[in-house]
């Protein structure tokens, strides 16, 4: 655990990507199995211990530290694991040597909600503050130290001089501590077996188009549907076949959308947008659509659930609008140009049930200007903008320059007043970086009040963050723990993709993806927008 803790600390303080890769690669080479495999799983977010949650740590700390002192400390540090690692009382008697990573994983995995309350403290007693930090980060499954899963895999590939694409390919067939992966890369063994496994293939992603223009001879355009990007994989095997649904990050979300699993019975790997049936939105552009897709708001009700009720299945049935085919009946199509893959997909789709699949139609435009006009006229809630795909591009993992572009539609804008600010966490700990803002429920000069309409924590630069932080500190009316109520004098121009009716919010409205567009230091608060302006933008 000491070496792993030292690695985590070094990664926290290292800025350059290459230096981070070198640190991880050195660790992976120097550390024996299975410790290094578990460490790699921790770095790539592969760990989940059911008994250890952030709330477990909070509860343990509140037995050892005055709850008010704990809260004030947690608020200052902005990270529960780090605060606990610093405040954990040093044991008074001799303790066992620190556990290794594999031992720590075994102990954590064996804990239950009850035993964790005695066993986790015994482990923490065996560690110094850095070790406690590493252990708690590992145990709660959220390292948040600026290392993406991808970076961990690249470091692995670099450590043993193997291809990262191969690592990605095998990754999803294996479980931590990845013994077969190390045996192959470090020990020269045969590659892991992946035949007939419903593996996730890394998604091909798009760059923002920004101000660029492309020729419609080279690129095809599609709508960018406002659901979640999914990959649906079916393999045939001795049990009759298996289907899995993966999210963009490679998480297995099959259990959340069981209705899709039976719908694909032919071996294939398909890329598409998961949507739920709803009003007729999206139907106009899509002649195979059975009534169209509902807005993201409707889909959101179904996300993140481990089980689904019958009622939900009938009220908001899911379907996939297909974009691409990576493999069909054992044939890997990824090296083919997009136009060929599209041909395969169009021939394949009649073999799928209409109820659960349709095809994302190509948006026909003679030239780029015409495409721009089509984009400008689209105000459908299920459409986020356009995708531009190079006709001769193969399907490759990640974002490759010049192949795919996303051209989001222009956001909606509204002027709101800053009402509350909360301290951020992670790299923004101690800065007031999460803002709740509101609109007037009438004429502010005639006594109208602000109603909170949304929350945002992005869209500003680090310099702007410092200025807003200073504004919050100097214009505080009230403090509620980590939250400050401000004097409601600062106006934000807030950008957002859409706005919906919502019973969860006091204002009755919920914005989709609000972010700070501009800070209007110059604008008096009473000139900010009223609720009526926001309500006029609802398209539900």
């Amino acid at each position: 655990m000491e070496e792993f803790a030292a690695l985590i600390d070094a990664l926290v303080y290292t800025r350059s990507r290459n230096a981070k890769l070198a640190l991880i690669a050195d660790y992976l080479r120097a550390t024996p199995d299975p410790d290094r495999g578990w460490a790699l799983a921790a770095l790539t977010d592969g760990m989940d211990f059911k008994a250890v949650k952030s709330s477990t740590i909070r509860n343990l700390m509140k037995e050892r530290v005055d709850p008010i002192l704990w809260s004030l400390s947690r608020d200052f540090v902005g990270d529960t694991a780090e605060t606990a690692s610093l405040l954990w009382p040093e044991p008074s008697s001799d303790v066992e040597a620190p556990p290794g990573v594999a031992e720590a994983v075994a102990l954590l995995g064996a804990m239950t909600r009850t035993t964790v309350l005695t066993e986790l403290p015994m482990m923490l007693d065996r560690l110094d503050p850095s070790g406690r930090y590493a252990l708690l980060k590992l145990a709660t499954g959220a390292m948040r130290i600026g290392i993406s899963a991808r970076l961990g895999k690249v470091a692995f590939a670099q450590a043993f001089d193997v291809s990262v694409d191969e690592v990605e390919e095998y990754w999803h067939a294996l479980q931590p501590p990845y013994a077969e992966l190390f045996a192959w890369a470090a020990g020269g063994a045969a590659p892991p077996e992946t035949e007939n496994l419903p593996l996730f293939r890394p998604f091909m992603l798009a760059h923002p188009l920004e101000d660029a223009q492309v020729s419609m001879d080279d690129y095809a355009a599609e709508w960018k549907w406002d659901g979640i990007r999914v990959q649906l994989v079916h393999v045939a095997n001795e049990n009759g076949g298996e289907t899995r649904l993966y999210s963009r990050s490679g998480d297995d979300i099959s259990a959340t959308f069981p209705e899709l699993l039976d719908a694909l019975a032919i071996p294939a790997v398909l890329d598409g947008e998961l949507l739920v049936r709803g009003s007729t939105q999206g139907g106009v552009q899509n002649d195979r659509t059975q009534g169209g897709a509902a807005s993201f708001n409707a889909l959101q009700q179904r996300l993140g659930r481990k089980t689904v009720s019958k009622k939900m299945l009938s009220e908001a049935p899911a379907f996939v609008r297909l974009y691409d085919a990576l493999a069909i009946e054992g044939e890997d199509l990824r090296t083919l140009p997009w136009s060929d893959r599209r041909g395969h997909l169009e021939r394949f789709i009649p073999r799928l049930p209409d109820s659960h699949f349709d095809l994302s139609q190509i948006v026909e435009a003679g030239d780029f200007d015409q495409l721009a006009e089509i984009r400008a006229s689209a105000r459908d809630d299920a459409i986020e903008g356009l995708m531009l795909k190079r006709r001769d591009a193969p399907y490759v993992a990640g974002r490759k320059a010049g192949m795919w572009y996303k051209w989001k539609r222009d956001p909606l804008l509204i002027d709101c007043v800053l009402m509350y600010a909360q301290r951020g966490s992670g790299k923004r700990s101690s800065f007031y970086s999460d803002y709740t803002f509101g609109c007037w429920n009438g004429d502010p000069d005639a006594g109208a009040e602000l109603l909170p309409v949304g929350k945002a924590y992005s869209g500003f630069t680090d310099e702007e963050l410092k200025k807003i932080d200073r504004h919050v500190r100097q214009n505080t009316l009230n403090r509620f723990g980590p939250v400050r109520e401000t004097d409601k004098s600062l106006v934000f121009e807030v950008a957002f993709d859409s706005v919906h009716q919502s019973k969860r919010h006091k204002s009755g409205l919920a914005m989709r993806f609000p972010r700070i567009h501009r800070i209007r230091w110059d604008k008096p608060a009473h000139e900010a927008d009223r609720m009526t302006a926001l309500e006029a933008l609802i398209r539900d």
Binding site: Y13, R15, I68, S73, F76, V77, K427, S430
Partner: protein, 334 residues
Amino acid sequence: MIADFSWIRPEPHGIHVVPADCWIDPSRAVDKALVTHGHADHARGGHGQTIATPETLGIMKLRYATDEGATSVSYGETIRLPGNVDATYIPAGHVLGSAQILLEHAGEKVIVTGDYKRRADPTCLPFEVTPCDILITEATFGLPLFVHPPIAEEVGKLLKALHDNPECCVLVGAYALGKAQRVIAELRAAGHRAPIYLHGAMERMCRLYEEFGVELGDLRLVADHDKEAMRGAIVVCPPSALNDRWSRRLPDPITAMASGWMRVRQRARQRNVELPLIISDHADWGELTRTIEEVNPHESWITHGREEALLRWCQLHQRRARALAMVGYDDEDD
């Protein structure tokens, strides 16, 4: 007479000693100021009269280029202020010249600690525990998570980084008044005799320390030397210069910062620090609470920093305390 301490009033812009009509560490210009130490947030310019230790007055003269209205008072010396108020300056152990100010009036004793620490520091006299009725204490590091490790450990980390990376230089961000000189003096005490290179903004303060008898060894200016000469050397600069264009003239610098805030990882990350050194000139949580216990005042008034947590500690230990709302004291660089 009933002890009511109405003669001393905390105001947002400083502590007002009413019968003497003078202010302690006022954050705006006043007729008569008592100044605890030379950091800019405590020692502002433009007062009619400034009463402080000779070292603090020397620091202020360096900064404001004038010593008009300066009245010097040595450690242990008591001066009589108007309205029958006596003021005594007592070492605070924070930086060169730093003082607690003991105020006595009508049989009541009030101490304003200013900023202080309880650890040994080769550049200034140690804090002296003095009994009083009201202790007005700082709380910059007033959270239980702040535990400053022994400075020898942190200096050891710095020397190890230097030793392990002979092709680089280690750039240490340190407050130009106090922290920089303490780090240099501690490096010397640890046996590091090599030249130490200074950012231009550090030079005059280091010279002033030397005039007051603090030996800092072979100091050189970055501006006078070639990039190559600084390989394998320690360079000291103000924290603001760490990520500045200025540091590009250095040979492959490893960025270090000497500050109590380095205890929190994300604080170090926010400043792009690669080598955090937990070195502070303020009292840590243990020192703050121990000092309240040892001074054992009738009541503690808490200011500058994380007042709420220290206030809570006082409640838990059945000690009378209140938090003051003062503005303009900012020790983010400590």
